[in-house]
């Protein structure tokens, strides 16, 4: 079988900086044009029956990719299994909802506050679970996800089970409006956040933090003995993952305008984790592909009504059996240099 990943990486390495930037810009351009794909005869197959194609692009596709990338920082890069990722998303969304309805702040002003709140909750979750590994960590994070939802369900400030209504849409930027029907414009915001996340992950991965996370994932004890500060880097992994989900939550709340606790169930955590594992744990492109497929598929086959859940499950089972490491597995390339034969 042709190894697309290696071939792609080979071609990429053969390019110089200009070619690379041009290619990246073209890809970004195509991604930005995605909302209009349903309009062209050639690509009209993407159009979904019943639901609006453009609204699917923002949520779930864009959101799942964004959160998949965030969760990938925690699960894929650092190997910390987090089953309560939805908590950070919920905290971002509730920060947006509460602040926008009680103060006059708009989405763009709340965004950094929402990210900070989510990051802070990442530290709160991270501190007590630093000593836990594997299954135990998974259980505690699962509990954290539920705790956040149940708190939202019971507090007055979060509106209890009714949630919070009347969350304003973001104010326009440079003439681009963000009304309830401006799906394409929201998609662009999500795209910008996705690009920022990719940039951040790539930057961190090739330098010291990436190596530290990789070492922690592979052998925590040896990592510590080789000088990796486990506490600092585990906390950073949680915090960065939380920041991404927090940003996603802010946008989500300001698009949907109404949020309620039952939007932030365990199901969401599992679905995002499924995107990451399905696409390829630890690989950015795999996560993007996984998120796109898993988010788009159920909407595309919505016309078969309840059977779509069965189809969705079947797809997961089949693909994971065929490709246990995900569609695009983690990079495992190596260059073998000829051994020098001298003297």
């Amino acid at each position: 079988m042709i190894n697309i990943r290696d071939k792609g990486a080979q071609i990429w390495e053969g390019w110089n900086r200009t070619t690379r930037s041009t290619f990246a810009l073209i890809v970004i351009g195509i991604a930005a044009l995605l909302p209009f794909a349903a309009g062209f005869p050639l690509t009209s197959f993407v159009n979904t029956p019943i639901t609006s194609y453009q609204s699917i692009l923002v949520y779930p596709v864009g959101m799942f990719i964004l959160m998949g990338l965030g969760l990938n920082m925690i699960v894929g890069k650092s190997g910390l299994l987090d089953l309560g990722y939805v908590a950070f998303f919920a905290i971002g969304a509730y920060t947006m909802a509460i602040l926008s309805t009680t103060t006059g702040l708009n989405t763009w002003e709340i965004m950094p506050i929402g990210i900070l709140c989510a990051m802070f909750s990442g530290v709160l979750l991270g501190l007590p679970v630093l000593r836990l590994r594997g299954d135990y960590l998974a259980i505690v994070t699962l509990g954290f996800g539920e705790i956040v939802r149940i708190i939202a369900l019971n507090l007055n400030i979060t509106g209890g089970p009714n949630g919070i209504t009347g969350i304003p849409n973001p104010p326009p930027i440079a003439g681009i409006t963000f009304g309830i029907a401006d799906h394409a414009h929201f998609f662009w915001i999500v795209l910008v956040l996705v690009l920022l996340t990719i940039w951040m992950v790539r930057r961190l991965t090739v330098r010291r933090p990436g190596r530290a996370w990789e070492a922690i994932r592979q052998d925590e004890d040896v990592a510590a003995l080789m000088g990796v500060n486990l506490i600092v880097y585990k906390l950073w992994a949680f915090t960065i993952g939380a920041a991404v989900a927090g940003a996603a939550g802010v946008i989500f709340a300001s698009k949907i305008m109404v949020i309620a606790p039952d939007m932030f169930t365990f199901n969401v955590s599992v679905l995002i984790l499924a995107c990451v594992v399905f696409g390829g744990l630890g690989n950015i492109w795999g996560v993007i592909l996984g998120g796109a497929i898993l988010a788009y598929l159920p909407e595309r086959i919505r016309f078969i009504s309840d059977a779509r859940h069965l189809m969705f499950g079947l797809t997961l089972v089949v693909i994971i059996n065929l490709r246990p490491d995900g569609i695009l597995p983690r990079k495992k390339r190596e260059k073998i240099l000829e051994k020098k034969v001298d003297a």
Binding site: M200, A215, V222, L225, N229, L230, R330, L337, E338, K340
Partner: protein, 258 residues
Amino acid sequence: MSEKVLELKNLTMKFGGVIALSNVDFHVSKGEICALIGPNGAGKTTVFNVVTGVYAATGGEILFNGTSLLGKKRHHVTKMGIARTFQNVRLFGEMTALENVLTASDVHKKSGLVGALFGSPRARHEESESRNRALELLEFMGIEHCSDRLGKNLPYGDQRRLEIARALGAEPQLLLLDEPAAGFNPAEKVALAETIRQIRDKGYTILLIEHDMSLIMDISDRVVVLDFGIKIADDLPKNVQKDSRVIEAYLGVPADAS
């Protein structure tokens, strides 16, 4: 000998009722190769684990350049200048050889996450500097041709050499080698002995666990012998060879003497 780099004072380590180390007392002087030997289960690796902070000592004191190591976190001990290898090779298998060394050399870096994110001049400088140093170390260990290969795909001998390179990457003053020659053939052992001597000559102090007596007698300046967690000898290699307690520990007591 002069300065004591590492000093163990009445070090005791108990696991429940099992006494792994009992009042062990010895030191490693600056610039020497000190060998730690003893029959299986004598507590040699336990010494390494207590020194590097894997286990908390039950009693006694460990001094590194006069500073106590008790209660120090593992990464902190590494940062202070002690790096080790493992009895069973424990590389980061999914990382390249170069990345393995870089991971350890990160311990002395000052730039952290923010520097990496925005590519600060200091982060770039440190990155390229440590990359050059890591390549030098790989070359020194004779595995520079493997720099871009994954740890798990290296031949066994190269994995052992890479472990030493990785430990050196942390720029330690004291290098702890846990059976570096295990599984080596005689020719490889000779080469390793030469490498260890070169490492010493570069100014590192070495504490070495080894079972191969010819290697020990060849390279070590001093030999400490443990048996059932008790130090039974601490002397020059040639004296240790003749020590009746050491021979007893390894070969047992003659029938007529008991």
